[in-house]
């Protein structure tokens, strides 16, 4: 009998205009996705400063995912294009430092894609769970 099944903590930054609405739709449709996903709403995916990602890991996240409007659909026209470059560089840098690459992800989820939102989260949680706890970017002082 398994008592304490490990559940990773996931922080999902979702842009207000597409992905957050997509998450809402997932909820309304009763699409299942793990409760370990904590959503933080941001005005645009581009609002996510690289330090947000680092701080999420510091405070105990095991995985960080950023969701925004599909390329071409950003409410502010081009925010997600900047996000894409910035996060490509950040994720690659983390990989270069030896941080497991499966702990970070960028996905495009529209307001109509409730099912995609739920499926993405299920998949991400599963991948991060397979890695186990985040040890390489944790700050023990932030642990209870």
């Amino acid at each position: 009998m398994q008592v304490n099944e490990y559940k990773p903590l996931i922080v999902a930054f979702c842009c207000n205009w597409c992905s957050y609405a997509g998450a809402d739709l997932a909820g309304n449709n009763r699409a299942d996705y793990p409760a370990e996903v904590k959503i933080i709403r941001v005005p645009c995916s581009c609002r996510v400063n690289p330090t947000f990602v680092l701080k999420a890991f510091q405070r105990g996240a095991d995985g960080v995912i950023i969701c925004g409007c599909h390329p071409g659909d950003c409410h502010y026209t081009s925010g997600n294009y900047y996000t894409r470059r910035r996060m490509a560089m950040l994720f690659s840098m983390l990989d270069y430092l030896g941080i497991e690459r499966e702990r970070t992800r960028l996905e495009w989820v529209s307001a109509a894609e409730g099912a995609k939102f739920a499926a993405t989260m299920r998949d991400f949680v599963q991948k991060v769970a397979a890695l186990g706890e985040n040890k390489r970017l944790e700050d023990l002082r932030c642990k209870k």
């Binding site: 690289p50 330090t51 680092l54 701080k55 890991f57 510091q58 390329p71 071409g72 081009s78 294009y81 900047y82 894409r84 470059r85 910035r86 996060m87 490509a88 560089m89 950040l90 994720f91 690659s92 840098m93 983390l94 990989d95 270069y96 430092l97 030896g98 941080i99 497991e100 690459r101 970070t104 992800r105 960028l106 390489r136 970017l137 944790e138 700050d139 023990l140 002082r141």
Partner: protein, 331 residues
């Protein structure tokens, strides 16, 4: 080819001062020892005659000093710049940190700078004097005979992998112009990329755990010119203090490298000034290499007005995952 020495620099500086073309001169002066040369501001001919030096310890990139020094000066300031330093000044012009009209750039040739740590490793402690250029004579307390060293054997890492001997900004040049080099500057980055994630983690752990947060890397960097810095803000969680744990070490270094991403001129000052010999340039070069591969070749400072890849985009850019996967299939 005419060999340029500090005499030529001094002549040029005195000339321009006496003609009134410039009102101050930014150069280098010897410190307590031959090898601790520091940046210095000169305003009269006597000081220049007695103080100005140019030798293989003039590694300090003077571009950065302009940002604060130029305000104190009425009129134009003469600055001596080695080829790699001119990339930095272009970047400062691009970012409007220094007014082009207020500087008079004299480009000077560079044969590579010496690394005092390498000299110490070769001859030991107690160095009292170093002279020569291609061939260095090193005097120490413990030996009557000076040791002879080839500059090539004690050259600082960044000069071994020098990206360019060509000046990209100047008002006039002393000596002959060099060219952009293919110096394999990304070889070391590639070596780290080929390691397994565990090895990479261990490698950086070994390096970054030595950091004492002196902030010298930030202070010397010509791309880091904010006057109020996040690292001085106690509310930021990354203020200046010795890192208490591994997270803080990485946090600082990721922020520092990322902050200059697309603006780093690959001058190597960060690694040169680090008292702990942490190879910080390997973080910056990684970013330069990634950006080159993903968004086309770009070197900050090559020209005034360049657009950094991180403040630009195309609709066809790859997804973050593609970049990492492509490297895996290459390896």
């Amino acid at each position: 080819m005419q060999k340029i020495t500090e005499k030529h620099l001094a002549e040029k500086a005195k000339d321009l001062l006496s003609q009134g073309k410039v009102s101050a001169v930014l150069g280098w002066r010897r410190g307590e020892f031959d090898y601790d040369v520091t940046p210095a501001l000169f305003t009269d001919a006597d000081e220049i005659e007695n103080g100005l030096v140019y030798n293989c310890f003039c590694g300090a990139n003077l571009s950065k000093y302009l940002v604060s020094k130029i305000r104190a000066v009425e009129g134009r300031m003469l600055v001596f710049l080695k080829p790699c330093d001119t990339y930095s000044i272009n970047q400062l012009f691009t970012e409007h940190r220094v007014d082009r009209e207020k500087v008079y750039i004299v480009g000077i040739p560079c044969n590579g700078m010496a690394d005092i740590t390498k000299i110490r490793n070769a001859v030991g402690e107690g160095i009292t004097g170093v002279s020569g250029d291609e061939c260095l004579r090193v005097e120490t307390l413990y030996s009557d005979e000076p040791a002879e060293l080839c500059l090539a054997d004690v050259m600082s890492e960044r000069c071994v992998n020098c990206k360019s001997k060509k000046h990209v900004a100047y008002d006039e040049l002393l000596g002959d112009e060099g060219e952009v080099l293919d110096s394999h500057r990304f070889d070391e980055v590639e070596r780290i990329e080929r390691m397994s994630p565990d090895e990479r983690f261990a490698f950086w752990q070994r390096e970054l755990s030595r950091c004492i947060r002196c902030n010298a890397c930030r202070d010397a960097c010509p791309a880091c010119t904010c006057e109020v810095c996040v690292f001085n803000n106690p509310a930021s969680g990354v203020e200046s203090k010795a890192p208490v744990n591994e997270f803080e070490e990485k946090m600082f270094h990721i922020i520092r490298a990322f902050h200059v991403a697309g603006r780093c001129t690959d001058c190597g000052e960060c690694s040169r000034v680090c008292p702990q010999n942490i190879p910080l340039h390997l973080l910056n070069r990684k970013l330069i290499k990634d950006m080159n591969e993903c968004y086309g070749e770009y070197q900050a400072g090559e020209a005034v007005g360049g657009v950094s890849p991180l403040t630009d985009y195309t609709a066809e850019d790859g997804e973050p995952g593609d970049l990492i996967r492509r490297r895996d299939t290459d390896a």
